[in-house]
Each structure stands twice: as C-alpha cells, then as structure tokens.
Symmetry: C2
Subunit: 345 residues, 2 copies
DNA sequence: AATTTTCTGATTTACGTACCTCAAATTTTC
DNA sequence: GAAAATTTGAGGTACGTAAATCAGAAAATT
C-alpha cells in the first residue's frame, strides 16, 4: 500500500498535525522538525494523493480562455475545442470560461487580461498579440501568481508559464523545404500570403520560410508578402492581382488563415500553368482543396491538442505539479491528400 | 455546487442506499424506483465524482504492457515510454508492469497473454503479432472483461477495445506520395525494405505504398521487397546486394526498423548517384542520417503519445468512462531535416 | 525564575462516494 | 389474509487529505 500522511507521522515521530503543517507549508514548525518530516517523506517515498487532497479541499479550478473573435475557421475550431474542454471540465473539478476579444487588437486584449485578472482565476490561456502592453498585462497576472499559458501565438519576453502551440519557425522551414522539393528545380518566383505581421506566429513562419528558401533553393525569388488580414474577400482580390502581375509564379505559401480567398483565386485560373501550393490549417476548405489537387500540402496545428495541452498545463501549474514536457510539445502535422484523417464533422 | 448523491436522493425522494444501489448497479431495486432515480440523476445533472469514488473504493489499476524484446531502437524507445508511464502511475492509482516476449513470435505471445490473464489485470496493452491463436487469446481476455488495447500493431478480427497506433496504410501512401514528388519525374526503380510481413503494420504500409505508386507514379517499378527482419547486419547486406543488382535505383522506402543497416549501406556508396530515401521511426540513427542528407524524410509514430494514449484508454475502459476520440488518434509525424524536434536524449 | 512566545500533539469534522448491516415497509405468492 | 419474498430506509464506517481548535510542551525573553 502507498504510504499516507499517517505513515509520515509515524516515520518522523511527530503528530499528524505537524505533518500537515509541513506538507501544506503552514507556519509554526521549527526548522529541525520540518527537516525531520521532509526526510521521512523522502525516505518512505510518500506522494500526496491528489484526488483525496482535492476532495478534502473541495477545490475547483476556474480557468479562462481568451480568444480572438472573428470568423476565421481555425479560431472557430479552436473555440469549439475549448467548448469541448468546458464540457469535460466538471469531471476534473474545472470550470472553464471563454472571453472573446477582437483579433489583432492589443489594446482590447490588455483590457480583457486585466478584467480577467480581477476575477482571480486559477489560470488563464490566451492567444497573444505581441505588444509591450500585452506583455505587461500578462506579467501582472503572473505577479498575482496566476498561471498563464499562451495559445497558438506566443508572447516572447513575457513571464508566461508555457506556450501551447507549434514551433512556427520550423513550420515555415518545413513549408519551404516541401515547396522547394515539390517544385524539383522548376524555376520561377514564389508568392507568400500572410494574415498580419502583427502576430508572432505569422512572422516566425515567414522567417523560417525565407531562411530555407534562401539557403536551399536560391533559384526562386520571393514576391512581396501579401497581407490578407485573414479576410477571404480581400485575400482573393490580392492573390488574383499578384498572380496576374507575376504570371510565371510557380509556388504559393499561405501562412495564415483566409484560405477560402486563396482557394477561390486558384479556382479562377484553372487553365493556367499549375502552381504548387502549401497552406496552413486543415479546415473544411483546405481539406477539399487538397483532395482536388488545388493545394499540395497543408501544415496543421491540431487545435484540440493545443487546448487539451493548455488545460493540462494550467491544471498542473495550479496544483504545483510537474508537466510532462514531451506530452505537451505540439507537433506540426503535415497533410497530403494521402494521409488526411477521417472527417468527423 | 455540483450535485451529489444526497441531492439525487432528495430529488428522487428515496434514500441514499437506494441511490447507491442504482448507481452501482446492485440488485434489489424495483424498476419503477430505479427509473425514478435515473430520471432524477438526469434532471439534476449529476456526474459521479470519479476521484472520490476511487478513493472510497481504494481501487488500484494493475495494467500490463506486453512488448517485444530484441534490440530494435523503436521498441526500446517504446519500452522507455512505458517505464516513464510506470513512474507516473501512482499519481493516478495505476500500477503498470511490463512483460516481454520474443519479436514476431505468435506462440510466445499467446503464452504471455494467457499468463497475464491469470493475474486478472485491470487492462492489457499488447504489440500484436497477427495469427488466429493470438486473436483467440485476446478474445479470452475480453471474455474475462479485461480491456485490451493493441499498441503500434493492430489485430484485425479480434475484440480488442482500441488500437493505439497510426494508420499504417496512410503512412505507406504518404511515403509514396512524398517519394514520388521528391523524385519529380526522375525515372528508375524503387526498393522497399521491410522487417517482416508477419506484422500487420508492415504489411499495411506496403499496401498503402504500392497503391499510391501504382496510381500516381506508374513510371517507377518496385523491386522485390527486402525482408531484413529488423536486423541491422542482415539489412546492410541485403540492401547493398540489391543496390548493386539494380544500379539505377532512384528511391528506397524503408518501412520497418533496422535502419542502422540501411544507413550503413547508404554510406558505403557515397559516390554513387543520389537515392531518395524515406524511412520510418525517428531514432538517433535516422535523425543523424536526416541531418546528413542520407535520408530525405522520416515518418514517425510518437511512442510517447502511443503509450500515454494506451494508458488513458485502458483507464477509461476500466472505469467504464468515455474516451475522447480525437485525443486518442495518433497522427503520423513527418520529419524533414527542417522540423526535427530538439533532442532530449 | 517567571513570563511570554513559539512550537507541537491530540482530536475532530469535512469532502463525495462505496459498501455494509439491520430493521422496517412493501409487494408477491399461495 | 397470512407467510414469504422482495424492496427500501436509516445509519454507520472507510478511503486519504485538509483544516481547524485547543491544550500542553518547549523554547526564547525578560
């Protein structure tokens, strides 16, 4: 049988009350006694029964997810995953709530963070927008000992506890590598389509992409980055114009959302010479385009994994427990039409 | 506050004992009363507090992992992950043990399964070898209501509860798609290297690979499959011979283990024309080969994910709880030298 | 040495569920 | 309608930990 607090008391020759004081870092224990108890804990290999502890505390964990609003497919999927986590929450004594803020709006995000802070949650997950004010707001949360996890887009220079998202530089590098090899030496310029350079994930993808293109495939020139603001209509227009302006374009890297616009633009030029396309995020639209051959590969971050990881990490941090590093690393999924997972609605 | 058993009792107008009888499916409750209680449960939205229930039961979960012995890197990594899970086990009242059986040996596996069955564990995870006897042995476990999860290699036709592994047909298809596109029309035969056709995962990968090659890249002929038995020495010899016999070979698909032998063979022919190589399983050796450019892409199944998934599913099945489908789907990771994760020893 | 302060022990209650016993009420059977 | 069988109620103990109280012991201060 696993050792219990009683066993610690017996092993250390102290009372249960003292063990409790040590375990829960309560005051009123001399250093020598505390050491004796800690040695006993070590010696008999005690590990606190978290379930029993939480039961006794009748503790609940209020977690808040701060997500961008807007109608981008990926973010909608992310929100659905948070809702799924909400539904499972009670099983683990967690209560998850969602706060929405306009996309790419640092000021609104800061306001939301401060508002959330006032409710003293057990943890916060946030899709970050990069700005010094946001960093400061996150640091205020941390100063209140509230665990913070950045989700999808990281916040460098902040005191966030963890980033639940993919390595976006690697994603960009991978996109370049795939695109370069799929082109197999066919010369011509390459277009890059982004949402906004205000979010770190997009910038990092571009950096990674540029690095590998320059290094391994110097024959291709990169056209100026198209910023579509993750807006399908704007994107379609800009892409069509760009392709018309550079008719020899052989490849496109779409590193943000707004793929609906890209796909629409591609469909309009059916008879033109083929263009190799690498896009991000597997949605209904990119999946269809992949199957039709309009898109050659999709790099995806699994929103479900990210949300579940964020929840696990928040819980662990709130409990002061350890996180399993390897479990919380989110890999970039590469989908070709040959390894698409079955759709589940 | 969450409703408790007391609330059910009050809502249904029965005693706590009756609620308990209904909840734990004990005999001695009239149908009408049972219905009343179940309706009350539904109405007030009661969910059993699993932590408290397990505490009360002081239940522990003895799980057994049956793994192949031998010195194949992937299986060693898998075993290490099981050990990691063992170490974390006590936190969730799980006791995990490992049973090793010779690789590719159906008879030994059946013996092991029956021996394990005699110990009445709360769940069994097994790397399956396909044979009717193994299926029967697994079904005996299931007949004893012991949850069974197949790990890495599935067992079609058996009553196993779940398969914790990747879609190997998709893996083979993906390999073909990548290889075909990386070759970019360069003609020539393609060699396939397998471990043994006795395990389902290898056969499925080959099937998927063949299908896409035939369909999308009919220009390439497939050389006869080399069966290296996951043995580095044998593999090196066979691969060298095959390459010497077909000097025009442009691609190699290594769908099993034994990559050390393959890499050794590739190194020996440094000056020969380049061969595009797709291999399976990211190990120290394949990682190095990827970085050196000897291998072009590695398809990987994350052993850590598989083990953790198997554990979660076994626990859920033992508890009679639901599993989160999307969480338990194991994706194939595609690694190029550009998206290699940091090594952690 | 007396007093104050700090530390420690003993004991109790609570968390939500499981499981047991025994008696009482109800239903079924003849 | 009585006896038998079944169903229900009431109450308790247990699981391992948290948190509290209060008394007593030890240490520090005067």
């Amino acid at each position: 049988m696993r050792p219990t607090v009683h066993d610690i008391a017996a092993a250390a020759g102290v009372s249960l009350a003292t063990v409790d004081r040590v375990l829960n870092k309560r005051a009123g224990v001399r250093k020598v006694t505390r050491d004796r108890v800690e040695q006993a804990i070590e010696r008999i290999g005690y590990v606190r029964d978290v379930a029993a502890a939480n039961l006794a505390k009748s503790r609940i964990y209020p977690f808040v997810f701060i997500l961008p609003s807007g109608d981008n497919s990926f973010m909608r999927g992310l929100e659905a995953e948070v809702h799924a986590a909400m539904a499972r929450g009670p099983l683990e004594r967690m209560v998850i709530s969602i706060v929405k803020v306009p996309a790419f709006d640092a000021e609104a995000l800061v306001a939301a963070l401060d508002e959330v802070r006032a409710t003293a949650p057990a943890g916060v997950a946030v899709v970050a927008v990069e700005s010094p004010e946001v960093i400061a707001a996150v640091n205020r949360l941390r100063a209140d000992r509230i665990p913070v996890v950045t989700l999808v887009s990281d916040l460098a220079g902040s005191a966030r506890d963890h980033f639940a998202g993919v390595d976006n530089v690697a994603a960009g590098r991978t996109a370049a590598s795939l695109l370069g090899r799929f082109l197999g030496g066919r010369p011509g310029p390459i277009a890059v389509l982004a949402g906004s350079m205000l979010v770190r994930d997009h910038r990092e993808r571009l950096d990674g992409f540029r690095a590998v293109m320059d290094e391994d495939f110097p024959g291709h020139t990169l056209l100026p980055v198209i910023e579509g603001q993750d807006d399908p209509v704007l994107t379609e227009k800009l892409v069509s114009e760009a392709l018309a302006a550079s008719p020899g374009t052989v490849g496109i890297y779409s590193l943000g959302a707004g793929n609906r616009g890209l796909i629409a633009a591609l469909k309009q030029r059916k008879d033109a010479p083929p263009v190799c396309v690498i896009a991000h995020e597997l949605t209904r639209h990119t999946r269809a385009a992949l199957n039709e051959g309009l898109i050659d590969a999709v790099l995806n971050q699994d929103a479900g994994h990210e949300v579940r990881s964020a929840v696990r990490v928040l819980k662990a941090k709130a409990d002061g427990a350890a996180v399993i590093g390897a479990q919380e690393r989110i890999y970039i999924d590469i989908f070709l039409k040959d390894n698409l997972p079955f759709d589940e609605g």
